[in-house]
Symmetry: C2
Subunit: 127 residues, 2 copies
């Protein structure tokens, strides 16, 4: 597996994308509306920052309301997301997604509950 992205919840993805592009020399490589959010991927060459701006009520809207903007999750890329989930299950971890589902950018994703993973919301992603 390898690092894929850090998911960042924000109330203004446009402004943050401009700042990160300028500050980090990152490239905006993908942008879409997905699941009630504006989702922007910034490429750092060896991984992405995924900006998540809520457009309607949902998990990210509630996160921003409760915590303000900030780092929301870490995503690890795998070539075998079903196997990764099975391994997590064997380790006794609590899964948010029992099976992979379609995520942003057309990728297959599955999340693990942070209480099983050191307080970190972990996403497996298979491109």
């Amino acid at each position: 597996m390898r690092f894929d992205h850090a998911g960042i919840a924000t109330d203004d993805a446009t402004t943050l994308a401009t700042l990160y592009t300028d500050l980090f020399g990152a490239s905006l490589v993908h942008e879409e509306e997905f699941d009630g959010m504006r989702v922007v991927f910034l490429d750092l060459g060896n991984g992405y920052f995924e900006l998540l701006e809520p457009l309607e009520d949902g998990t990210i809207a509630r996160y921003v309301d409760d915590h303000g903007s900030g780092i929301h999750h870490l995503a690890v890329e795998t070539d075998d997301i079903a196997g990764a989930l099975e391994r997590a299950r064997e380790l006794g971890l609590e899964l948010i997604d029992e099976a992979p589902r379609r995520g942003a950018w057309g990728h297959d994703v599955a999340f693990l509950h942070p209480k099983s993973t050191g307080g970190v919301l972990v996403e497996f992603v298979e491109h």
Copy 2:
């Protein structure tokens, strides 16, 4: 610049390192006591997870007390940390470190205040 690491505050770096090694196939590549913390770097091939376990009172101890374990910061690697800080200053961002300082693993580091960077505690690191 490129992604360097996600810093994760934890009350038990040993247990979390074992879990992440198993779950992600990450390799433990560096471990030290630094600035009142046990610091463990796990290599994902294209970036690191840095586990930070407080051994005495300090920023990370207070973070864990207040928020519990979880994602603490995101670090971006640069070949010119002085230039990166200068660019941040030009952009009007609030700096935590006005000049680079010695961080874990002997790297030069400098942090930007999260209120300037979308709620994300950003670290510049030069190896």
